[in-house]
Symmetry: D3
Subunit: 135 residues, 6 copies
Amino acid sequence: MAADLSPLFPIISDDEASPRVAAVFADIRETRKTDFINNFWRVIANDPDNLEQTWAELKHVMAPGAIDSMTKDLIYVAVSVANNCTYCIRSHTASARTKGATDEHLKELQAVIAAASRTNRLAIGLQVPLDEAFI
Amino acid sequence: MAADLSPLFPIISDDEASPRVAAVFADIRETRKTDFINNFWRVIANDPDNLEQTWAELKHVMAPGAIDSMTKDLIYVAVSVANNCTYCIRSHTASARTKGATDEHLKELQAVIAAASRTNRLAIGLQVPLDEAFI
Amino acid sequence: MAADLSPLFPIISDDEASPRVAAVFADIRETRKTDFINNFWRVIANDPDNLEQTWAELKHVMAPGAIDSMTKDLIYVAVSVANNCTYCIRSHTASARTKGATDEHLKELQAVIAAASRTNRLAIGLQVPLDEAFI
Amino acid sequence: MAADLSPLFPIISDDEASPRVAAVFADIRETRKTDFINNFWRVIANDPDNLEQTWAELKHVMAPGAIDSMTKDLIYVAVSVANNCTYCIRSHTASARTKGATDEHLKELQAVIAAASRTNRLAIGLQVPLDEAFI
Amino acid sequence: MAADLSPLFPIISDDEASPRVAAVFADIRETRKTDFINNFWRVIANDPDNLEQTWAELKHVMAPGAIDSMTKDLIYVAVSVANNCTYCIRSHTASARTKGATDEHLKELQAVIAAASRTNRLAIGLQVPLDEAFI
Amino acid sequence: MAADLSPLFPIISDDEASPRVAAVFADIRETRKTDFINNFWRVIANDPDNLEQTWAELKHVMAPGAIDSMTKDLIYVAVSVANNCTYCIRSHTASARTKGATDEHLKELQAVIAAASRTNRLAIGLQVPLDEAFI
């Protein structure tokens, strides 16, 4: 995932996009109010079924609901740190910032991730049994 | 971590608590406004240094700041699902509910975790290179 | 991995052991100076190639060398906590105890695992760049 | 975490350090008997609470006890390999070497990590049930 | 995920299924040629959007293509072992068996997972640099 | 694991290979019908025991059996994506291609990995209990 390594499939430019791919790219641009399509979409575009399905899911899931859209990006970053996905940490931290995340939000996010990672391992490592209240 | 397995160290009851342990238990009760001390604390209480340090961290990190306390529990659950910690998923989902999390919050949380887990693996699996914008 | 679930392949008793399996069981008993053969070996015994290869590796790798045998069990437990393998945490914690691990060893082990899990996530989450000294 | 990527927050130089940060840097230097402060500390220094808490924990946990300090670094590396943290693998392997770890220690460490990773997956994959002795 | 723990949301019976949920259940039954609907679907049925999206993805992705359907179940199991999902290991091993997987397939699968887990950690632990041929 | 970082132990060239190492290199060349020995083998060659054991395991486990050799590489890649091992993803994707894997195979592989990663987290996150049929 380093910046200087080629992906397993080529990065599809706008000129190379098939009509199905172009339609998804257009919807990403309209939904996000930006002309920028990042590499993630341009690489999975090699499999148009996957592209359509992934975009449909993310468009729906990341939209504001009971949880607002910026918070969803923070949760997304938390999962990405636990999964160690550099691309995902950086792209969704950037996304959170465009939705209003401040330095304070991001510092608190990292502190919660760190505390959870630590206590997750203590609960697992010490084999703490579930309390009746949690069963 | 199943309910029927003993932990690596015994569950410390209130009667067995040393003064250092009792002091932490008292602060947990006062901070959380409940008499209930869950097994996690009663097992790490076998190592009072660890107990004091863990409680000090969680008390500070999970307190409301730029991110509210319920949202911090949702982020904590997200990390715990990624780390597959049954104890942590159940205890912090319960905690989030006491702070106002509804079924809708929890369903959206699971949907964001699922979407992030899926796209994390696509970014890693396809070896998507970082865009200039994210470097 | 709960105690009440059946494994994917049956637990091979001494009576059911083929000559190849019986030979490995005999070497485990002689090496460990105990009659007890735990379920891990009895389940992988369904694939004698895997059994022979796994036992040969563990017998060699876990033997004392520059690192003593008890410390190797502590390292094994650390990996197992990170991988969340209940069976492995419990069996190798028990093994470490037979080699002299005290409560103090095990508490310090858990504290190091917890600290590493926490700082691993901070280094990943904050995307800390490598110092020249570590390249 | 590649060497050529910027972190999420800036690397704090000695000149930029606030009094709280400078005090932690001074204690790191004194404790470690070196002038070198690696990037990990300089990045989390953007959140002084996190810096103080992390340093206090590591200073305490990694100090010699029932387990010596070099062995604690080996355990730390084992967790970092399981969590795939390049920064942590490299910095704590370097630290272990300053405390006396030889090539033999490091080769045996990698062999134990490999064996544990392999058998962890067999125990999980085959769903090996816990023996009565480990419950 | 133990058999005796309740899920975070109730298990939806056929009688409790809304028309949207009932329609997905009917399609699962028709596609799989069985009346059995396992708990996974009955729990995510609490979020009909998630149920519809998940079923649409799995129906499409697990169908035979360049890779046959049984092999896709083996790959699914491999990911589930790496992610330590007991439910997923057991349900997709059962599914693979209904599609013709024999004991030999499953033993070889576990052996490949074990070998990959081991060598993954060696490549990461030893920080093996990419060959020109793989860049 | 970036291309520009040095490994923990040096890359052993053919000229530097001891007789034991040279014998393994020769067998790799003969088995794979290529002169190319990739860095993975040249780095673990610093520990000849580990080299011999790893090659013996991989030669045996990745050979065609009930599961063909190309499919074993796909399963290996699936585990490597779940473990986030860049080196392993790239080297075994290349290996799968030499054994006949097409773009279609690799796209379907990624889609199955993505679907499994997503549903693994839903089963864990929602704490779905095992059906009687899977116990």
